[in-house]
């Protein structure tokens, strides 16, 4: 039977009471296929961590249900915990145990040995092996993440849940980390990972945008970008901050945001970049450069957020 690796239906989870009640996860349904890499992206406080706890059977939903490889998180959590790997957002290994001791400990918990799964974890462990006697607390941020990933993989899981594995990690280590996840793909492991870095989401097969406990969009990165409803122009001049304000005052401007060395302005499709150029010249900008650009995932997310804000009446 070709069932999905993860099926969540109408999940809700609330915390607190009365006026202080917060709906952390609000009627979320999602399906992740076997071997898929699924990205959950959204800001802090959007509900990502609660969603992960619900999916991993560590917390029970107020409504809805979750099936992992066919097992129900409510009744079959023991089976589930044998086949999933979970890397929580907060570093949760033992800081005063060495790299090797941490790995051994987690292997023992699952009734296995490092040797038994050595080939499996080797592509990641090889970075750590030179430091195997070092205490986990003395590793750099990127190394800690690699160790945590090894520990989550030590029992050869079928589904891997990674809650913000790269937050606070530098760009190079982040890239390496995602390359390692790519290797796992070749071994048919299903990966569900969350990240606040939109650029990382490009590496996923599909992405779910999460905001205020709801999934506000879910598709392949390609489809999400192609569905962007505006013309995106990258603009720069010698005075970037004044440029931002002037672009926002441009009559056709739908929104304008800084993107590194450029500002991205969203205009109705079919708008003439020449007209914008003339406008900026009138505003006395120098060295103006305008080029048409494909929308990035971050453009898409901000546009969805703005739409959501409008429909909620903000």
């Amino acid at each position: 039977m070709a069932s999905s690796a993860v099926i969540a239906s109408h999940l809700s989870k609330r915390f607190g009471h009365g006026a202080h009640q917060i709906t952390a996860v609000d009627d979320i349904s999602l399906r992740v296929e076997k071997g898929e890499m699924f990205g959950i992206i959204g800001p802090d406080g959007a509900g990502k961590t609660t969603l992960f706890r619900l999916l991993t059977s560590l917390m029970l939903p107020d409504e809805g249900q979750v099936r992992i490889e066919g097992f129900n998180t409510l009744k079959q959590y023991k089976e589930i915990r044998r086949i999933i790997g979970y890397m929580p957002g907060r570093f949760s290994l033992y800081q005063d145990l060495s790299v090797e001791e941490n790995l051994n400990f987690f292997a023992t918990l699952f009734g296995t040995h490092i040797r038994a799964n050595y080939d499996f974890i080797y592509p990641i462990y090889r970075y750590l092996e030179p430091f195997k006697k070092r205490k986990a607390g003395n590793l750099s941020g990127g190394m800690k993440q690699k160790l945590a990933l090894c520990c989550a993989l030590i029992h050869n899981p079928k589904v891997l849940f990674l809650d913000e594995p790269t937050t606070g990690v530098d760009p190079v280590s982040r890239k390496e980390f995602w390359e390692m996840l790519g290797l796992l793909q070749q071994k048919d492991i299903t990966v569900v990972a969350s990240t606040p870095y939109m650029s990382e989401a490009m590496r996923c097969h599909r992405i779910g945008f999460i905001q205020n406990g709801k999934i506000i969009g879910c598709n392949t990165p390609q489809n999400i970008r192609e569905a962007f409803p505006w013309l995106v122009l990258s603009v720069r001049s010698t005075e970037m901050f004044r440029l931002l304000q002037d672009l926002r005052a441009y009559p056709d401007c739908r929104a304008c945001h800084s993107f590194g060395a450029y500002q991205h302005i969203y205009l109705p499709k079919g708008s003439d970049p020449e007209d914008l150029h003339r406008y900026l010249t009138r505003k006395r900008h120098n060295d103006i450069r305008i080029k048409e650009t494909d929308a990035t995932i971050e453009d898409c997310f901000m546009d969805l957020m703005a739409k959501k804000g409008e429909s909620d009446g903000h």
């Binding site: 802090d44 760009p171 971050e298």
Partner: protein, 267 residues
Amino acid sequence: MGIKSIKQRLLRERKAIQAVNDGYVIQVNDLTKKFGDFTAVDHISFEVRKGEIFGFLGANGAGKTTAIRMLCGLHRPTSGSGMVAGFNICNQQEDIKRNIGYMSQKFSLYNDLRVWENIRLFAGIYGVNENLIAPKTDALLSRLGFMSERNTMVRELPLGWKQKLAFSVAILHDPRIVFLDEPTGGVDPLTRRQFWELIYEAVSRGITVFVTTHYMDEAEYCNRVSMMVDGRIEMLDTPRNLRSHFGVESMEEVFTRIARKATRNDD
């Protein structure tokens, strides 16, 4: 406090203002910090000009945090010398703390105090003149569009709002420089950008900004950027010059090139 010590303090302050007026808010030479036989920061020298946005980048474990702690007067350097906000980092650490702003990545306002109570508390701690606290509070709230949130408990604010409030509180006492340690980590893309607009606005009011980030698009918003590798400052220049030095399009690629250098050195 006796007359004599007040006089001494005023003298130190006057010297400090003089130093800052000369154009530099930070000036360090061969700053080094060792922990046992591990050299966390290895002879770094640089200046930060008045009114500048200075990006302090580097890989995890490169020594950024240790360097920042020395600059803020929280660690004594093992060797080297320097001035921050006009005060000596080796022996005037308390003066430094009074004259800088600091915002850590971890939210550091009190969740169970109201917005105005937090502002009042930090204004008191930083010694803002009693008569100025009320008008400064009003100005801060109106700048943020928070007038209606004056009595809101801070824990009820969305994360983005909290970060903006924390930043505004960190510069309430008009410090000469504010240190921002990954102020936008984990924040949504819209709030991240609004946060940078606040930074620009603070700069327009004469505050110098020293900022760390792992978002490379944000490195572009800095006037100058330093890249730390293995405890040393490997490069320091404007984003534009760094990009053209490596012949690449983005700061992300610049970062990768420089950090790769470190890996080669390890081999």
